[in-house]
């Protein structure tokens, strides 16, 4: 695999000729420069995967820098299992030690701005990191004002826990402080948002905790701005089976509209009712992370359009955007999707920076959701570029009334998947 084959020779010659013809401005690898440079902004599922795959597969030919402000990264995926008591927070928290060992330069700083003209990332700490290609994977930011009365400050009283870590810990502390008869209100987010089945898995985990504490009359009300949600028949069936009467989902026709929340009184007001809750979990509307929006990589939707054949930004040929910040066509915003998109981007980046062979983009996703102990359901799909977007070709979803051993197998499988994907992301 290391020999210079005729194909490699041809492509090298072609690239060199193109570089000569176009001048070094357009050449990904300028003559005299030691190594082409990939800089990755964001060390989550998308960014971590790109950094690892480019570093590994380029075998040192590409200089890879990963910019991530957090020393330890707690994954949002599986954080519901921490809420339910199935995982510890430590077990879903990862370091970048293995990334460093893999030859990736990890810069523990916030990317404050992207200077796309100069092809440099401006760090909050003051430095600038030049790149030949940039991969942007900042995840989501929350639209605080999408729920009237909600704010970043209010999230201390009404946690969102849609970015994992301190918020998730706060949510769990509040959950465990509840008394029998208390009310939980969850405000679910509008589309598109990170982890489509996530709010409903979380409601299941709330119910599991309350049930295991022998609560008889506690209640969970989900106020949803959407008329339907992911895996809805499966969750509805599971709630009825495991937590009868405890979980109530209201669509917009039922609640008439979410008017406002009051973090001081813990009240949630809809068109038809006022709820005085012991715990309010507000999951606001979402948009691409600030760095991507500030750099002009997002469109009016708040997310970043990409070329579905490469994950390259539609706004800048030197930039790739993967994960929750991008517009993924038919794919859901999930860690699995981000990891899948990152592998396509990694191949295309290597193709541009080191003349590596590229292959047609192919994407896949699976999302597991835990409803109750050993009752886990899954949904997934296969995708390729088509009709100007990442287009769904095939899909599957768990069936209602499945055998218990299938659901238990799903649960075990999800743990094995977690072990695999975090090794893909964090090394």
């Amino acid at each position: 695999m290391t020999g210079l084959t005729r194909r490699h020779f041809t492509s090298l010659t072609g690239a060199s000729l193109a570089a000569l013809a176009a001048g070094s401005l357009c050449a990904p690898r300028a003559f005299g420069q030691a190594k082409p440079r990939l800089v990755v902004v964001g060390g989550g599922p998308g960014g971590g995967t790109i950094a690892h795959y480019v570093a590994k597969d380029s075998e040192g030919a590409i200089d890879v820098t990963l910019i991530e402000p957090q020393k330890n990264f707690t994954t949002c995926f599986f954080s519901n299992l921490y809420v339910g008591g199935f995982r510890s927070l430590e077990s879903i928290t990862h370091t970048y030690d293995k990334a460093r060992a893999a030859g990736i330069k990890v810069v523990e700083d916030t990317a404050a701005a992207l200077d796309r003209d100069k092809k440099e990332v401006v760090l909050a700490g003051g430095g600038r990191v030049p790149y030949d290609r940039l991969a942007v994977a900042p995840g989501i930011d929350l639209k605080w004002d999408s729920v009237p009365g909600y704010s970043e400050a209010a999230s201390q009283a009404m946690p969102h826990a849609w970015k994992a870590g301190a918020q998730t810990k706060l949510l769990v502390e509040r959950l465990h402080a509840l008394n029998d008869g208390d009310l939980i209100v969850m405000i679910a987010p509008p589309n598109p948002y990170r982890c489509p089945p996530g709010p409903y898995e979380r409601a299941s985990m709330f119910a599991h905790v309350l049930k295991s504490k022998s609560h008889k009359s506690s209640k969970i009300v989900i106020l949803d701005p959407k008329p339907a949600f992911s895996k809805q028949p499966l969750f509805m069936e599971g709630w009825e089976k495991h937590y009868p009467g405890m979980v109530e989902w209201q669509d917009p026709k039922t609640h008439g509209g979410i008017k406002h929340v009051d973090a001081k009184t813990n009240e949630v007001v809809t068109d038809l009712a006022t709820y005085k809750a012991a715990l309010v979990n507000v999951i606001p509307a979402q948009m691409a992370g600030k760095i991507a929006r500030d750099a002009g990589l997002a469109d009016q939707s708040g997310f970043c359009p990409i070329d579905p054949a490469s994950m390259k930004s539609a706004m800048d040929p030197n930039v790739y955007v993967v994960g929750d910040a991008c517009i993924p066509g038919d794919m859901p915003k999930s860690a699995f999707s981000a990891n899948s998109q990152a592998k396509v981007a990694a191949v295309m980046i290597r193709g541009e920076l080191s003349e590596a062979r590229t292959f047609p983009a192919r994407y896949s996703n699976t999302c597991w959701s835990l409803i109750a102990p050993n009752d886990d359901v899954k949904i997934g799909g296969r995708y390729e570029p088509g009709d100007g977007k990442i287009k769904q070709l095939d899909t599957f979803v768990s069936q209602k009334a499945e055998a218990a051993d299938i659901r238990q197998q799903n649960y075990k499988e999800s743990f094995d998947w977690y072990a695999g994907i975090v090794a893909d992301i964090f090394g």
Partner: protein
């Protein structure tokens, strides 16, 4: 233990591929396709639900992938992985994992 946990699928699928020629398999293509598999399989152990597929024989790997492609094995995640793979891609994947070591 077989990949599928069900050895009866192995023999016919190997015949279908005609005992794939290791020299003909495209290992670079295999590595690219294998990246999708890594998400779930890279941390697999002998006891995990998701099987350890590194270093398995090409015949065994080929048989399992084809059985999933034809939905003769039940897991929808694996059916979804295999559904669009061509024979050439199956051979490339099998060849790659037969020679690959777990990272």
């Amino acid at each position: 233990m077989t990949l599928s946990g069900n050895g009866r699928w192995i023999a016919p699928a190997v015949l279908m591929i005609g005992g794939s020629d290791a020299c003909a398999a495209d290992l670079e293509l295999g590595r690219y396709l294998a990246a999708e598999c890594m998400t779930c399989h890279r941390a697999a152990t002998r006891t995990s639900t998701i099987p350890d597929i590194f270093g398995r024989s090409e015949g065994e790997l080929t048989a399992a992938i084809i059985a999933y492609r034809e939905k003769r094995l039940p897991n929808p995640v694996m059916q979804n992985v295999a559904v669009r793979l061509t024979d050439e891609e199956v051979a490339a994947l099998a060849s790659y994992f037969a020679s690959a070591h777990k990272p």
